[in-house]
């Protein structure tokens, strides 16, 4: 399900951005124009597509968020910031926003922690370790929709294995998807599992980048297990961990599929996360303006996270 770009590319991109200096106001020479014209031949196809499907739509989302629309999406009456005021005072939206942050809070740190344990286990030098690595990271091959359907079966109160196992130790399993207190947690469990493969692969790559000599010398100095883990593994893995923190948070903020297939925003709006709320308001209730205002909220959250990430990677590049 994860479609986050690898670390190296991002850091390279932001390094180049960091070195991007806006040139002084020299007049454009004929040669400048010719060089730009030639470059645009190569950049044109991408720029046209970006304009059509990223920049213009973003501007249009902002524009629509100031209007009320008819059911086919044409703006009819200007409302100014009314949609945003409506959002800020809508209990439904605020419940959903709270659910969104809970969803991220439950899914991301725990998801990374579990992946870290598994990656460390998978980082041993053993014959046949690749088999275990493949099995551990197999969830990367599972799309969100298919993964959600697998968990739909596991969560089922009467047929599912989860509650059978809980029952077999004498407890009563919860109604995972229909109990308002459990639903967001169930979505998080599914999401942690879906992201596990990607997280493990990133962390394994990070672990393999730690020079073996560091452990050797630590061992000579008498450091053992937990100590080397805390003082060598974690600090040297921190770039990968931070990368995952941001990328996973972005992924969870954008999650739609699991919500649609497992809870449909319920019970009583407890899983009406931001993206699902946009979907409901735009494509079920046909309030495109109101949904656009929510889209802008989502945009700013993701923008903030991306900037934090670029800032961080930039600093790392400078340190080198």
């Amino acid at each position: 399900m994860q479609t986050a770009p690898p670390v190296a590319t991002l850091s390279a991109a932001s390094a180049a951005a960091a070195s991007a200096v806006i040139p002084g106001r020299q007049p454009w020479t004929r040669r400048d124009l010719r060089s730009l014209g030639e470059a645009l031949l190569y950049l044109g196809p991408s720029l046209v597509l970006f304009s059509a499907f990223v920049f213009v739509p973003l501007a249009r989302t902002l524009y629509l968020s100031f209007f009320y629309t008819n059911p086919i999406g044409n703006p009819t009456t200007f409302g100014g910031v009314e949609q945003y005021v409506a959002l800020a005072t809508s209990p439904e939206f605020l419940t959903g926003l709270r659910a969104t942050f809970l969803f991220v809070l439950y899914s991301v740190p725990l998801g990374i922690a579990i992946a870290l344990v598994l990656a460390v286990l998978g980082n041993q030098r053993l014959r046949g370790i690749n088999l275990f690595r493949t099995l551990m990271s197999s969830t990367i091959a599972v799309s969100a929709s298919v993964g959600a359907l697998m968990w739909l079966l596991l969560f089922n109160p009467s047929l599912g294995l989860l509650n059978y196992l809980i029952g077999s130790i004498g407890l009563t399993g919860p109604n995972w998807l229909t109990d308002p207190n459990m639903a967001i947690l169930s979505l998080s469990i599914t999401t942690i599992w879906l992201m596990l493969g990607f997280n493990i692969i990133v962390l394994l790559a990070g672990l393999q980048g730690i020079p073996e000599e560091l452990y050797e010398s630590a061992r000579i100095d008498g450091a053992m297990g937990v100590n080397t883990f805390r003082h060598i593994t974690i600090p040297l893995l921190s770039p990968s961990l931070f990368f995952l923190l941001v990328v996973d948070a972005i992924t969870v903020f954008q999650a739609f599929t699991q919500v649609r297939l497992l809870t449909q925003g319920g019970p009583v709006d407890t899983t009406r996360v931001l993206v699902y709320s946009i979907y409901l308001d735009a494509f079920v209730n046909f309030q495109f303006g109101y949904a656009s205002a929510q889209s802008m909220v989502l945009f700013f959250i993701i923008l903030l996270l991306t900037i934090i990430q670029f800032r961080f990677v930039e600093r790392r590049v400078h340190y080198q």
Binding site: A13, L43, S46, F50, L58, L135, S138, S145, F253, S292
Partner: protein, 298 residues
């Protein structure tokens, strides 16, 4: 030495440096069996939902409903697969997904190769600004612009079409940066020499850069293919005709049927997940083979 006693020693070592130093002289080893056992348990636990879906796809509805929930089918049957193939046009879904994903791959390879070439080899005024423009597209989540994009596709009359499924994703800043990285690995002299010899820049790109950057392009192709193949939200929005559904959407429809048949659902799930799983396993094998081939040569 048992794993438990090693654990105890490790804890003791953390408490006292002296003890640790004495023990460090001895090679510390977990019992090999213990390590394998632990690895096997956690790996199987992670893969369990996938394995269970395969297993359930061979069970009858009656068997699935028995208690305690079965793990292996008592009498494996292919009925579920037959019913899925008979009730929904799953091969058409697979074809749709395959076509849409392939179109995205072709589109991204074209647009990203051209743009990456400009960023890697051409000097032109306004480069930093255009570069920032590319980066900024990575900060806009698709879901935040999905409403206008849906309206655009509808206006173009592209609902229920392969263009609608693929054209919006044919440019990618990530892909551009990925290829730019791999183009930058090529020696700059190559470019200067080619231009000096009178080759046009485009010929240089086509005959030299592209053939030498096959690895980067393959990475982009796989990445673009999988991310399109796995889409759910967008194809759900813009396809309504049953015959234009993609695999992910089509299979998930089984979940919303009046009487949910778990065996059918899991058969559908298995058919969708198998190709990507095989890709993962083959990728691993490829990697191992590549490493050993290199070892023999080196």
């Amino acid at each position: 030495m048992s794993a438990a006693s090693v654990g105890a020693e490790a804890r003791a070592g953390v408490r006292s440096g002296t003890v640790a130093r004495i023990q460090a002289r001895r090679p510390i080893r977990w019992s090999r069996v213990g390590r394998y056992l632990l690895l096997a348990i956690v790996s199987l636990a992670v893969a369990f939902p996938i394995l269970l879906a395969f297993s359930y796809s061979f069970m009858t509805e009656r068997e699935i409903a028995t208690s305690p929930p079965p793990i292996f089918p008592a009498a494996p049957t292919l009925d579920n697969y037959a019913r899925v193939i008979g009730s929904i046009p799953i091969f058409r879904y697979l074809l749709n997904s395959f076509l849409a994903s392939s179109l995205v791959v072709i589109g991204q390879l074209l647009t990203a190769t051209l743009a990456a070439f400009a960023f890697a080899f051409l000097d032109f005024r306004g480069k930093p600004l255009i570069f920032l423009l590319f980066i900024s597209t990575m900060m806009v989540p698709w879901e935040a612009t999905i409403i206008p994009n849906y309206l655009t596709i509808r206006t173009l009359g592209w609902l229920d079409s392969y263009q609608g499924l693929s054209v919006p994703f044919m440019a990618s800043a990530f892909g551009t940066f990925l290829l730019r990285q791999s183009f930058l690995q090529l020696p700059r002299d190559l470019f200067d020499a080619a231009v000096m010899d009178g080759a046009s820049k485009f010929r240089f790109l086509w005959w030299i850069v592209v053939p030498l950057s096959r690895a980067g392009m393959a990475t982009l192709a796989v990445y673009a293919f999988l991310s399109t193949w796995n889409q759910y939200f967008w194809p759900l929005l813009i396809t309504n005709q049953p015959l234009m559904r993609t695999t992910q959407v089509g299979i998930a429809q089984l979940r919303f049927e009046e009487t949910l048949r778990w065996g059918n659902l899991m058969a559908g799930v298995s058919m969708v997940v198998l190709p990507t799983l095989l890709l993962l396993v083959l990728g691993q094998l490829q990697l191992v083979r590549g490493l050993t081939a290199g070892a023999v040569k080196g």
